[in-house]
Symmetry: D2
Subunit: 186 residues, 4 copies
């Protein structure tokens, strides 16, 4: 098993990143900071003759990384009650990958497992439900199981450490990921 964190946070060392670190403590993984990659919004050419034009940005590199891992952790702050813009731009481009003849994106995704970690400031255990539902539909579309999610509550830097429940859930996910790792290797 190899884990890729798709980090959608829009600042360094924010609460989402802190919680991600707790989840991944002691677990080898690779992390991509989406905000440090240049990923343009999709130019929707699904119905254009000739299909999608190649785009000169970092999306291809990121998707190549995605294809090399079997477990994806989507980590994002709750911005305006859904995933961050950088993560949305990234996911929107999947429409392009679905039509990319260089690989079979859908089949590849269907063989992975997804986890979701979100942190929000405004009652996220209720108000981030639509976010989770939206990602669930997204993963369903490519037949990638959503194995679990955790929702933390924090706004100011460092506040996540006061959310005992989120800390506990991070421990649960840490144990689950270690277990998964062990069961594959062992």
């Amino acid at each position: 098993m190899s884990i890729l964190v798709l980090q959608g946070s829009a600042r360094d060392e924010g609460n989402t990143e802190q919680l991600s670190k707790l989840v991944l403590e002691g677990i080898p993984h690779k992390e991509i900071l989406l905000r440090d990659r240049r990923i343009l919004p999709i130019n929707d050419q699904r119905h254009t003759e000739g299909g999608f034009d190649p785009v000169d940005d970092d999306y291809d590199d990121v998707i190549r990384e995605v294809l090399q891992h079997d477990t994806l952790l989507f980590a994002t702050p709750v911005y305006w009650y859904t995933i961050s813009g950088v993560m949305k731009n990234f996911i929107d481009r999947w429409s392009q990958s679905l039509r990319d003849s260089r690989f079979d994106f859908k089949t590849a995704m269907a063989q992975k497992k997804a986890y979701v970690l979100v942190v929000g400031g405004d009652n996220p255990r209720i108000k981030a439900m639509p976010l989770i539902q939206q990602l669930k539909y997204t993963f369903d579309f490519v037949s990638m199981p959503l194995e679990g999610y955790i929702i933390g509550k924090a706004s100011k830097p460092g506040e996540i450490l006061n959310d005992k429940r989120a800390i506990q859930e991070a421990e649960w996910l840490n144990a689950e990921l270690k277990n998964l790792r062990f069961s594959v290797i062992g």
Copy 2:
């Protein structure tokens, strides 16, 4: 009353734009194609000393337009079960406007009315519910009432015209907007 359409679609003459046109038939309005404006993802400096740095893109122009209208129509295709990336980037930047001393963004937004129009291909009347809920929470945050929404079903170009129900709802919204206009002017 003056209407601004914030158009989040990512292709010309797509179904979302077609349905928007039906909604606005015979009604003076201004439309902003978000995909034609350069709006960068937010650099989250809410908790940075000194606050947000100015960003050299078109966001300021768009928000100035927003402030000059009292009725906003958010039109977006359903991309991966939520609003398009270009619309998400735009809304994410509201966090910056909330801290912008040049105007009182929250008070200004609270005096507007919002409508939402979305078009999706995969059972949108069920699977776009999280999208609507997310926008509802967003508008609640700035105390802007969501006066109504319509959901259309279409994927291929032009398909929206086969969705009788969406066409009928567009007529309803067209009548509602005309009525609103009349009641203010008349």
Copy 3:
């Protein structure tokens, strides 16, 4: 095609019934007022040796009617943001029918189509979304397609007639049901 209305309202001539009448104008159908039938809450014996005991109430009669129709209209007021108690008691008992050896409930349901009509007083087009989602999951469980739903807004008796949008949607559903009928018979 034959239509059965499962009426979950808890008073005579309420808004839900009024809207149902508009939907069914000119269309032969049978209606069951669930409140007039004695349907006990489920006694959950799914895991009891010997399974469910027979229950002496009207549930069996109702389910026999259900099995004789191919189109079901679930009509219910929004009570406390979900279906009424009488409708919930009825649906809970499906767990019993799923284990009833006299018929193949799941296969029979999978051959029907479902429509939903709800009327609520407190912003139902947003706050009845969970109700619709819950019924969608319910119908998915028995592989019965949810062909459409309409949401009306009303509290006081007769108020539904002021909800132009609901009236219009009732007309849409009326046309859809007539069409369905025609396409089967014609």
Copy 4:
């Protein structure tokens, strides 16, 4: 602080009851098994002249208990993706209490805190979201804060003990309730 468990499960010693017990270990509380009380579906007389007729069942007794506690734990299995029929019948009757001149139901409820515990068999961490949202709207209506919820996964008797995450969440809620108690008394 005094805790009342409103138990909506429909069988003895089911998973919902087991998880409730873990939550309440070592904490004094009172529990009402709703299935053992006779609570009729509401006869909706909100708009009837003279209002609601008295109903000869156990609802009054239950509501009197409710009014004597400041913390309510709503425990229910997920039946067909929402609360059980016996719990729905109970909550539907709140419409009657809202109009009951013997006490000020809304003000009384606004002074309580609510917790929710649900156990479902079919992907409840996703598919019980509408249930939680529905209860959130319900509690909002009477201004009673929803302080937290836990969702467990189990179908067969005893299965809940295999859901490590639910067990851990039960421990979290147990600690939270003990803390609450201490902070009031101490």
